[in-house]
Structure formats: C-alpha cells, structure tokens
Symmetry: C2
Subunit: 222 residues, 2 copies
C-alpha cells in the first residue's frame, strides 16, 4: 500500500482547481468561472502526517481550504470530458488535503494581476492525509462529506456533490493543457467556510462516506 512518504517522493506537480463550490465563491466575493481554472502548488509545500506544524510566515493571513485530493496513477492526456470511467480509472489513491493560502498575499496578487504561486506555495502549505486506497471510495468520489475544524469547532462541512465541475471535467480540462503523470496530485476545490488560523490553532480534517469517517483521510495539524 502507498504511504504518505511515497506520495511525496513521487509527486511532480500539484494542480489545484479554483472556485469549484458556489457558496465558497460567494463568501470570497469572487466571480464564477465559465470553465474550470487551476493553479500549481510546488511539491515542496507538502506536509505529511506527523511531519510537524504548518508554518505561518510573518505578516501573512493564512487561510485553510479543505479539499478532496486525487493521486494520479497513469499518464493522462486529452481526456474526454464525458469519460467518467477513464477519469476514475486514472486515480490511484485519494487523500484529504488542506490548500493553505496566504490570503492577503493572494488578494494583492489578484489586484495586481500577478501569479498566485507565492500565496499558495510556502513550505508546509499543503498538509495531506495518508493515502486512501481507491477501492474505499471508488466509484463515489462525488458523494463524500469533507470537513475541517479549528480547535474542535467545525468550520467546513459539505458534500463533494456540490462541486460545480465534477472530477471527470476537471481531469479533462487539466489534461488538455498539461499531461497528468503518475504521482501528480489534483486538488478538487474547497467548499464554503474558509477562514484564518493563527499560531497555536489546531486544524483537524477528514472525509466521511455515508456518515462514516474514512480513517486514512484524517488530518491533525498544528
């Protein structure tokens, strides 16, 4: 079975879908995209389970965004937007991830038309769970409950069936721009409820299927 360390070792890019839940778009007062868009986080931002705290750079407002992650198992190019079976077959494992975001840095980048890479790319800005074996979720990644709490207070809890663009469409759009390779990670967007964490806060996150927690998907990070 894959370990989180092997996920880290084999990851060559992390592709993140933006604005994929309507209520999250509304809470940040963003425009709804006419098609999926995405950005990259560097593999160096990955934070494995038990690897230590998430680091909050000075002068930065750090927001959590819980997301369902897909670990790609094969080369994917120009996937058809209706090829649901092909899309699900290209996923080797799932995981839960927190797309940490330097919100004030991102707001300034947006205002100036600059790239998001710094806002999204600090070391430790991508806490992940252990890999969730695909058979635990297949074929239902679009009917899971994601949740995140800060200091035991629930902040995010929504079903992946609220995604504006489903996983097939996401993998199709990404793979028409950049080839997906074995080991790449795709983050599928965050539901509503994002907010800041400060020094001393503890984040917990996870995923439920039919109301039952999937153990491997659990994240605990300071």
């Amino acid at each position: 079975m894959a370990s989180a360390a092997s996920i880290r070792a084999n990851c060559r890019k992390v592709i993140c879908i933006g604005r994929n839940y309507a209520d999250h778009i509304a809470e940040l007062k963003n425009a709804r995209p006419k098609q999926p868009f995405f950005f990259l986080k560097p593999p160096s931002s990955l934070l494995l389970p038990g690897q230590g705290p998430m680091l909050k750079p000075r002068g930065v407002t750090v927001h959590y965004e819980v997301e369902l992650g897909l670990v790609i198992g094969k080369t994917v190019r120009d996937m058809h937007a209706e090829d649901r079976e092909g899309a699900l077959d290209s996923i080797e494992n799932y995981l839960v991830a927190i797309d940490m975001t330097a919100r004030n840095v991102q707001d300034e980048a947006k205002r100036k038309g600059l790239p998001w890479s710094i806002a999204k790319g600090f070391d430790t800005f991508l806490p992940i769970s252990n890999p969730i074996p695909r058979q635990k979720i297949h074929p239902r990644p679009d009917n899971l409950e994601l949740w995140l709490s800060v200091n035991k207070q629930i902040k995010q809890r929504d079903n992946t069936n609220l995604m504006l663009y489903n996983i097939t469409r996401q993998l199709s759009d990404i793979s028409r721009v950049m080839t997906l390779e074995k080991g790449d990670i795709v983050l599928t967007g965050t539901p509503k409820g994002v907010g800041p964490v400060v020094a001393g806060d503890r984040m917990s996150a996870g995923v439920r299927m039919d109301g039952k927690e999937i153990e491997e998907g659990r994240i605990e990070v300071d």
Copy 2:
C-alpha cells in the same frame, strides 16, 4: 555529466522570475515590481533537445521568452540575499530555456486576477538546451549574452548583467518562500524582444560568453 533527460527526470519544480529586465517590462507595459516575484511551470512542460516541435494550442498567441536557467544541486532554504558564494555554489548546471507563454491567455488572467499556470503550463512550453556544466560559466552567470532568433532573424539579444534582481537575490527570495531542492530549475527572466511564433517557425537560441558561443546551450526547435 548530466544529460537533458536526467534534468527532466530529476525536476520537481520550475520557478520562473517575472519582469527582471527593464526593457522587457516596458515593452509589455507592465509595472516594475518592488521585489522579485515568481511563478511555477510544471515539469510536464519541459521539451528536451530533439524531442520534437513546440506545440501551439489552437486559439492561442504563443510568445517566446529566452532565459538563463539554473539547475539546483542541493537543498536551499532561507538563503541570505548577500550570500553570492552560497547562491552560485547551489547551482549544479546552467541551461538555456525558452519560457513559452500563451500571451492572450496570460493577458486575460492578469485582467481577471487569475493564476498564470494555464498560460505558462502547456505541454512543450519549456524547450531547454542540454545542461551547461557549471565550470563553463562559474563565476560569471551575470555576464552572459542570451540570444534568440526566429527563422534566423535575431529577436532577443541582451546581457544577463541587465537583470534587475541578480541570481543571489532571486534564490534568496524564492528560498524564503519555498525550499529549493536538488533538480529544481530556476528561470531568471527574459530580456526585451519577446514576440509571437506561428506554425512553421523555427526558433534558435543560445548563450555567449565573451562573444563565444557555449555549445551546450544551443536550442533549435520548430
């Protein structure tokens, strides 16, 4: 000696400095940055010597940007902005790269405050030369002449001594955000003269030291 294939195999991220030559900022009517900024290209965009043509996606205005590339040889974190020796020591090889850019996609992203990853990240959008052994350039990466021609017409030709932020400052700023790892590639920005290529165009690029071409740095791509 490193081969281009080993560069590809070991690359986990490509970090590109934006707006690092004054005349290039002027030609695109951009604002001059108060500090270096950067973005990521995916390793999947690398195009090795002899690997085939650069692919021009439909509906896209594709611009060339010739740049000096640095292949990182060790882990770099929080490098000091004055540590020139440390910076140069962290470079294992040099190369010449063309940071291909979907300019109309990038212009729209800038207007909407969206990430640059799609505009910069298509497959084949990063033609590179063979690696240039570091001793051929060390300690003078800041006094090289970069050039690029389209169909034998020179389009870009400028000295790396025109960089607004030198290599030490670049590696310092990047490494305060994201750890540089062995195999990572840093692109140091493009001088003036960027412009479009269309189907059938042939790009050539290279680098000269003291007026003499460095053979390994040569790129020829259709």
